[in-house]
């Protein structure tokens, strides 16, 4: 199948280096300490952060740093096919783990010993047409991480840097930025990357399928560019938010 037309356009009309529309908003859940919505194309994710708070389960308490936990849930209606078994399946446990490890890398956990930080990520909508839920879940990783970054920052949790994430792939001998569902399920290589943009460090890197090394370099470079673009956007959202508070206070 042709994923890039001779004119250089993808199935959804984007250029190979173009991202889907992204949108982020802070403070959507009133009761949470920090919360955010993040949309990438059709994928829409809510993240809520509770904490740092006391560890309810004393046996998990750590005396030298904070315990970071993450739970990923997909709404029943988030995929094309109605899901029958939403909670606690292996796929969501795996994604929870990926998000947790990625976010833990940027949270300064040693500043908040004996506390717990909960990150809850709720997928409202996954890009995936009329599809199986499994692949759709994988495609939401980047959006989840971006939402979690915004929510953590809203909660005022000390962080080394932001973490932003984006994916890139390789189809029809073209590196493609920010794969949508159709491209994701085409079976080509898919690199999901999370970086800390200011420190220039990679915190998440996952790839399936095989790629020659030199092409991998290109694809990864593209993903890094994507992450940086997301970072610029997230930066803007956060700055805007601070500015608004400033302005209102009339200082």
């Amino acid at each position: 199948m042709e994923y890039v037309s001779p004119e250089g356009l993808r199935l959804d009309g984007r250029r190979p280096m173009e991202m889907r529309q992204i949108r982020g908003e802070i403070g959507v859940v009133d009761k949470a300490d920090g919360s955010a919505v993040f949309e990438m194309g059709n994928t829409k994710v809510i993240a809520a952060v509770y904490g740092p708070r006391e560890v309810p389960n004393r046996s998990q308490q750590m005396n030298d740093r904070a315990l970071v936990r993450c739970e990923y849930t997909m709404a029943n209606f988030s995929t094309g096919d109605r899901m029958r078994k939403p909670k606690g399946d292996r796929r969501s446990t795996e994604i929870s783990l990926v998000i947790r490890q990625t976010m833990e890398a940027c949270i300064m956990t040693h500043l908040m010993p004996r506390t717990q930080i909960d990150i809850f990520v709720q997928v409202l909508q996954a890009d995936g047409g009329k599809s199986r839920c499994l692949i759709a879940a994988i495609g939401t990783r980047s959006a989840c991480i971006n939402a979690a970054t915004l929510a953590l920052s809203d909660a005022g949790i000390p962080m080394r840097d932001l973490v932003t994430s984006c994916s890139a792939g390789y189809l029809n001998s073209t590196p493609l930025l920010d794969l949508n569902y159709v491209e994701d399920s085409a079976g080509g290589a898919d690199v999901t990357l999370g970086i800390m943009p200011k420190l220039d460090k990679v915190t998440l890197l996952q790839m399936d399928a095989k790629l020659p090394l030199d092409i991998f370099e290109n694809v990864m470079q593209l993903a890094i560019e994507g992450c940086k673009a997301v970072a610029t956007y997230i930066r803007q959202v956060l700055l805007e938010n601070t500015k608004q508070l400033e302005y209102r206070r009339g200082t």
Binding site: P113, R160, L162, P197, L238
Partner: protein, 243 residues
């Protein structure tokens, strides 16, 4: 990403920053001592923000990031409003919206001795001062000022308390007084206690006055000074009409 390798601190002061922003470069600031407040950390030769907020500077050398959050990070010297959650032999456990419950020693009252230990029910609202705040330990509170006097600390009876962001409570405590309190104070007599932990207590002659005052305060967070004055004017008018 726009990199700003400028070392001059003036460029970032009173500007919004986000986690990861390098706000100061120490390498060209030798022979200077600076003090770092909340939200900043040192990473070799650079000072990096770790919270989203506004960078502030006071003379001679203090830097910090001003933020507005729902949760409170205990800090020595802050006056806060706490709710008694439990009592032990030596301490009351008090919720101050921080990451952990705070300890209020039963002797930390003016003239406190073993014989006159105050009795607080669970749910009592207290105006207290943070005296110890070490990471990894529960913060410690006191119901006296630094000289051991009760000052204005102690139990707050009746009235109504609500939670707000830490930014709002800082705004309420700022001098010159913030417009909403000034305008309300001209027309209505009420008592108010503001905790830096984002908790506010209001008491007035009648419940409807308390509600007017507390809702005016809660709404003022999203308004500018002028808008605050207009809002209060409208509220007062409505009150006069209805009474």
């Amino acid at each position: 990403m726009e990199e700003k390798p400028s070392g001059s601190p003036a460029s970032f002061i009173d500007k919004p920053v986000i986690p990861g922003d390098v706000v100061l470069d120490l390498s060209d600031m030798t022979n200077q001592t600076i003090k770092l407040g909340g939200g900043l950390r040192q990473d070799f030769d650079s000072i990096v923000a770790m919270k989203a907020g506004t960078l502030r500077f006071t003379k001679p050398n203090k830097y910090w990031v001003e933020t507005s959050q729902k949760r409170y990070v205990p800090c020595v010297g802050d006056s806060v409003l706490g709710i008694v959650a439990d009592s032990r032999a030596d301490n009351f456990l008090v919720d101050i919206k921080g990451p952990t419950l705070a300890y209020l020693p039963v002797l930390a009252f003016e003239g406190g001795t073993r014989r006159n230990i105050p009795k607080f029910e669970v749910g009592t609202l207290l105006y207290v001062r943070v005296v110890k705040a070490n990471p990894g330990m529960n913060p410690e509170l006191s119901c006296t000022d630094a000289s051991g006097k009760a000052a204005e600390y102690g139990v707050l009876k009746d009235g109504y308390n609500f939670d707000c962001s830490t930014g709002l409570s800082r705004m309420l405590l700022r001098s010159p007084r913030c417009p909403v309190l000034e305008e309300l104070g001209k027309k209505i007599s009420f008592e108010i206690a503001v905790g830096l932990n984002g908790r506010v207590w209001v008491n007035a002659g009648s419940p409807s006055l308390i509600i007017v005052v507390s809702n005016a305060i809660m709404n003022s967070e999203s308004l500018t000074g002028v808008q605050q004055r207009i809002m209060v004017d409208k509220l007062i008018q409505n009150l006069k009409l209805s009474s």
